[in-house]
Symmetry: C2
Subunit: 346 residues, 2 copies
DNA sequence: CGTCCCTGTGAAAGCGCTGTCACAACGGCA
DNA sequence: TGCCGTTGTGACAGCGCTTTCACAGGGACG
C-alpha cells in the first residue's frame, strides 16, 4: 500500500480511504490512487485490514459433506450472495465424528470469520453451548435450535402433507422408510417421521410400528431388505413414504425388478425433489435447499451488520407435494377381494 | 493471547511458542499455557499470525459451480486433506462470465491465500497471465496448461477407449453427442471429441461430421432434439457416445419413450460414471474426481512448502471403461438386412 | 476583514501476533 | 573456581493496514 501511496503521491491514509470508497477523497486524488493501484496490481490484504477492524470479511460454513445434492444446491446460492457482499466463504467439511470432536475442541473458526453457518448437524447441548460463546453470530441451517437464529424447511408439515396425499388416494397401510447413518441429517429424519405420524393420527389411522423401517442410504441392497420386511408383513403396505428421494428410487428399482408394478400395486412417495426424482418421475415432497442457502446468507449478513440488536429470527421455508407418476389411488388388495368373495358366499 | 500469557504467568512469546508446538518450551510451562488457553477458550487469530509470517494458512479454490457431482466429489476429498494439514479452504464460485471478469480484475485471492486451485475453466491467455503474477502457486485442475502445475484426467485416452469399446462390439456408425454451454467444462469436451476421432481414425472408420451433434446438458428436451437429428440421418448410428452421463441418460430416457430398445437397437455409452450411471445401469467411461481433488490438494501443499524449487508437475489420472447394460454387440441394421436381401435376389 | 466551519489530507498509534535478540540459569569441563 | 555452551524465557520491533487526531486551506458569514 505504501508503494501505491508513493506512486500516487499521497499518504497511505488516503490510499486506504480511496480503496474503501470513503467519500472524503477528492475526485482527482481518487483517480490518481486508483490508477496507481491498478498499475501495481494491488489488492488490500484482508489479514492486515481485519487485524485493525476486527472484521474478517469471511463467513464460515460447517457442513457434513460437500458431495450431496443438498449441500451443493445450498452452497451454490449462498456463495454468489456472499461474494456480492464482498465476503469470502470459508468451508469446514466435517464428515465424521473424530473430525467433529476436533473441530469443536479447537473451534478454528473463532476469530477467523464474522459469522458461522452450521448446516444440518445434530448438535449436542454442549456443542451448542460452545458455539454460543464463539463471539460471533451462529446461524443454524436446516435445523432449528430454540433461541438461536435458524433457517429450515418445515419437515413436519412436509411429511404431514405427503402422508395426507397418500391418505387422500385411499391408502391406509402406509409404510415409512427412515434413513439411518446419514451423519448430520438425522434432525430432518425425526421431524419427517413425526409429520407422518401426525397425518395418520389426524386421519384416525392407527400407528403400526411394523410399518416404520430403517434403511441406509445409497444402497440398493439395503433398500431391498427394507422392502422385503414390508412385503412379508401379514398386512403389507399399499404405499411407501421414503424419507429421501434416493431411498424411494432404490425401492422403486427393487420393486420393478420384482415385477411389482408402481404405482398400480404400491405407491411410492419420496422427499426432497432432487434431480433423481425427476429422472424417475417420482412423486415427492419438494424442498428448496437453494432457497435455504440464500435465506441463511441474507440472515448472516444482517446479523453481521447489526450485531448489537438481539436477533432471534427463525426462517421457516415451505415444502410442496409434487405428485408425479409413482403415486396413485389405492387398488383393491388381494386380501380384500378374498374377503369380499368369502363374505358373499356363505 | 495477552490474557493467556497473564493467566499462565508467562510472556506472550512463550504462549506463541507453545501454541505452535515449538520444542523450546519446558513441559511444565507448556502444560500451564495449554491449560490457560483451554480455560480462556483461546484460538490464535490467523489474521494476525499471517500478517507477520506472510503465510495465510488458506488455500483458495476457484470453481465454476458447487452444485455438481463432479465438484462435490472433488471438494469432498480436497477439504479433509487440507484440514488435516491445518489449512483453511476458501471457495470462490464463479458461475457466469460477469463474475469471472470481476474476479480476474480484482483477484481477491491475492495475498489472501497461499495457493490457488483453478478447477475446470477455459482460461484465456490473458487470464492465465494474470494468475501467473499472482505471487502464489496456481494449480490447474481438470485441465492442463503447459508449463504450469496441472492435475487432470486423460480425457483423450478415456474417449479413445470408450470409442474402441464400441468399435470392438462391431459398431461402425458411432455418434458423438457433445455438451455445450456447461460453462467451465468445455476443455474436457474438446479432448473427448478428439479421443473419439482418434479411435475412429485408427480403426479406419471415416469421420462423419453428421454423427457429431451438440446438446445442452440437463434437458430431456434438448436430448430429444439431438436424438431426432441422429435418427433421421440417411444412415443412423448404431451406437451413441455421450460426452457426459447425464446426456447419455437423457438419450436413453428418450429412446425408451420411443420404444427403441437399448442396447438391442442402439448402444449408449456415457462418460463420468456419476451415481446416475449406476441407477440407469449405463455403460460409461469412469473418472474419479475425488482422486483428482486429492492429488490437487497434495500438490498444493507440496508447492506451498517448497515454493523455491520450480515445480512444473503434471499429474495425469486414468479413466476406465465400465461396461454395463447399455452397450451391446451391434445388431444387423434394417438397412443391411434390406441390402443383403436385395443382393441375394437379383 | 476577521472569524468560523467545512473539506481534504497526513502523521502516528496500534490491532494481535511472530521472530529476533538478549539474557538468566544451569551444568559440564578445564 | 572460572568459563563456556545449552536451554528456556522475555522484551521489543514490526508485519500492513485502519482510524483518530491535528491541521492547512478555502469559502461563508457577520
Amino acid at each position: 500500500m505504501a508503494d501505491v501511496a508513493e506512486r500516487a503521491g499521497v499518504s497511505t491514509s488516503t490510499v486506504s480511504r480511496t480503496l474503501r470508497g470513503l467519500s472524503t477523497v477528492s475526485p482527482e486524488v481518487r483517480a490518481r490512487v486508483e490508477k496507481a493501484a491498478r498499475e501495481l496490481n494491488f489488492a488490500v490484504s484482508r489479514q492486515a485490514a481485519s487485524l485493525v477492524t476486527g472484521r474478517t470479511g469471511t463467513v464460515a460454513v460447517l457442513v457434513p459433506t460437500l458431495n450431496s445434492w443438498f449441500m451443493g444446491s445450498a452452497l451454490s446460492s449462498l456463495a454468489p450472495l456472499l461474494r456480492a457482499a464482498g465476503m469470502q466463504l470459508n468451508v469446514y467439511e466435517i464428515p465424521d465424528m473424530a473430525e467433529r470432536t476436533s473441530f469443536f475442541e479447537h473451534l478454528p473458526a473463532r476469530r477467523n470469520a464474522d459469522a458461522l453457518l452450521v448446516f444440518s448437524f445434530d448438535l449436542t447441548d454442549e456443542e451448542t453451548a460452545r458455539l454460543d460463546d464463539l463471539g460471533m453470530p451462529v446461524i443454524y441451517v436446516s435445523q432449528h435450535v430454540d433461541g438461536r437464529p435458524s433457517v429450515y424447511v418445515d419437515d413436519v408439515a412436509g411429511a404431514l402433507h405427503g402422508t395426507r396425499h397418500l391418505l387422500n388416494l385411499g391408502h391406509r397401510r402406509i409404510a415409512f422408510v427412515q434413513t439411518v447413518g446419514a451423519s448430520g441429517f438425522s434432525f430432518s429424519s425425526n421431524e419427517r417421521l413425526l409429520g407422518y405420524q401426525q397425518a395418520l393420527t389426524e386421519a384416525g389411522v392407527p400407528l403400526d410400528a411394523e410399518l416404520v423401517v430403517s434403511t441406509s442410504v445409497g444402497s440398493k441392497r439395503a433398500a431391498a431388505e427394507s422392502l422385503g420386511t414390508l412385503l412379508s408383513l401379514r398386512e403389507p403396505p399399499t404405499a411407501i413414504f421414503a424419507e429421501q428421494d434416493e431411498v424411494a428410487v432404490a425401492l422403486i428399482w427393487n420393486l420393478r425388478k420384482t415385477q411389482i408394478p408402481v404405482p398400480d400395486r404400491i405407491s411410492v412417495l419420496g422427499f426432497d425433489d432432487q434431480p433423481l426424482a425427476d429422472w424417475f418421475d417420482l412423486s415427492t415432497v419438494a424442498q428448496s435447499p437453494s432457497d435455504m442457502g440464500r435465506e441463511a446468507g441474507e440472515l448472516a449478513l444482517k446479523l453481521i451488520d447489526d450485531s448489537g440488536t438481539e436477533h432471534e429470527r427463525h426462517v421457516v421455508l415451505p415444502s410442496y407435494v409434487i405428485p408425479r407418476s409413482t403415486t396413485a389411488p389405492v387398488a383393491p388388495a388381494r386380501g380384500e377381494e378374498d374377503r369380499e368373495k368369502g363374505a358373499s358366499s356363505p
